[in-house]
Amino acid sequence: MRYKKYEPWLYLAPTLLALVLVFAYPVVRLVILSMQRRSKGEMIFVGLANYRSLFKDDVFLEAVGNNLYLLISVPIMVAVALILAIFLFERIKGWRFYQTTLFLPYLLPIVVVGLIFSYIFQLSGVLNEFLTLIGLERFALDWLGSTKLALPTVMFVVVWKEVGLGVVLFLARLMSVEEELFDAARIDGASWWEMQWYVTIPQLSTVIEFFTVISVITMLSWVFNYVYVMTAGGPGNSTMVTELYVYLQGFRYNQMNLAAATSVLILIVTIVLIFVQFRLREGEDGWEQI
């Protein structure tokens, strides 16, 4: 194919323009905003003062703590997705149907899911009615209304929705493993556990790693919708997360600069995680992957 030197750039131009407008320029502006403060109607440079105030703000610290708490669910999600994918891969009856339904939650709008679950978990909701019916009134609790339970309850909903992605990813990878590998292990007399440990898990390692990194990023910076709809950060600040903190500071309390500083911190954590993901696949850059 022959083309002039500038020609590729013509094809790239609209994409590059959009990326500059939506990513590059805003990131530069974000960093600047995070080091400014409004004083007498003017923006003045204050260095790292905004960051210092963040670390003195109990609400911010609680938000960070809650995001970290949500990380507990990552190993749970990986394990559950792994078990379900292996069972489906063993071609139990109706596996196709199960795959479709297990994936369905991942597609539903978080807003819809959050609202449905907030009715399910109401004090007089369907879950507590069910628990009472089977004689477990003791466990009929105020799931979203108590400071102790609200965060684990939100976490359950996140897992409920996101685990289907893991199942689909793992299953797709398993289906592309050569059948001979499993046959060879079987002929060598491997037990079910040995088979999973020596064949399935090593074969899945890159996908498991991918899903783990994605889930960590989800728990740290993609949970806004759940919290906004189910608890709005409450009761108290028991379900406050950094994203909600950004939203509230920036768009409710008119503290754009504090919101910007928080955003910078989230961005740094995300970049570190992306970097880790690239390093884990040392020697393979994105171009080779495809």
């Binding site: 369905l104 990023i217 950004v246 955003s263």
Partner: protein
């Protein structure tokens, strides 16, 4: 197989079946709960929360349609979804053509950067974007939000299309070039028609994402007549009078386009997600 072996095999497979069935029930219950509640009266919802409705009614749908400017919200969501999905599709395909078929300095670095952008959470961009959008007078406009959605969808879209374009055999392209096609002609008449499956994948994945998006819609479309369906739904919970069955009817209507899209494009959708993670 001896008798006891067979017994253990049977045990193992029924445990598997049981685990999977429980997980499936757990996945479906909230959807079932939404669907049945939408057909109950308020009194029946209180008396019979999880059974099927004794006498299904449709009044809740009328209530949902009449309240909260439902049709306007539905139309807003549709405009944003169609607009941003189409625009991002076209410009991502153009960029992917350059990535897949041309050489230029910095290609690999740019491509790696693009992949990294896929996981940047939108929340870190809203503050500076809002400041800029105020200056550009794009707050409370469809164009502003379509620009943001387009930008956010581009990394994944370009990645997926580049991936697909590279699988199209060189011979087909060479043949077209010998027949006198221009480079753009190759793109438009050869690459695009051959890429229909990838385009489908992209449309399904991106449309679902835009339809379900909350944060950007919340921040950038604050005027009541511009609010999207998801923003409207998110506001339902905080209302004082809560008519749960009517809310459920609203949720059901908002979910139906997604379920239809999924049924229609399931294999494209799964292929799209898997392409990001599995070689």
């Amino acid at each position: 197989m001896s008798g006891s072996d067979r017994f253990f095999f049977w045990m193992g497979s029924s445990i598997r079946q049981l685990v999977v069935i429980l997980a499936t029930l757990l996945s479906l219950f909230p959807i079932y709960f939404m669907a049945v509640s939408a057909f109950k009266t308020k009194d029946e919802y209180i008396a019979n929360k999880w059974g099927l409705p004794a006498a299904p009614i449709l009044d809740n749908f009328a209530t949902a349609f009449s309240g909260e400017r439902f049709f306007i919200r539905f139309a807003n969501s549709t405009i944003l979804t169609v607009g941003s999905v189409l625009i991002s599709l076209i410009i991502a395909c153009l960029a992917a053509y350059a990535f897949a078929r041309m050489e230029f300095p910095g290609k690999r670095a740019l491509f790696n950067l693009l992949i990294s952008l896929m996981v940047i959470p939108p929340v870190v961009l809203i503050v500076p974007l809002f400041v800029s959008m105020v200056q550009w007078k794009l707050v409370n406009t469809y164009q502003g939000v379509i620009l943001i959605y387009t930008g956010l969808m581009l990394p994944f879209s370009t990645f997926l299309m580049t991936n697909f374009f590279r699988t199209i055999p060189r011979e087909i392209i060479d043949a077209a070039l010998i027949d006198g096609a221009s480079n753009f002609g190759v793109f438009w008449r050869i690459m695009m028609p051959l890429s229909a499956p990838a385009v489908m994948t992209l449309v399904v994945v991106n449309a679902l994402w835009v339809w379900n998006e909350l944060l950007i819609a919340l921040v950038f479309l604050q005027k009541d007549e511009l609010k999207t369906l998801m923003v409207g739904i998110a506001a339902m919970r905080s209302r004082h009078y809560v008519d749960i069955p009517a809310t459920m009817a609203g949720l059901l209507i908002a979910t139906i386009p997604i379920v239809v899209l999924y049924m229609f494009g399931q294999r494209y959708f799964i292929r799209g997600l898997v392409s990001g993670a599995v070689k």
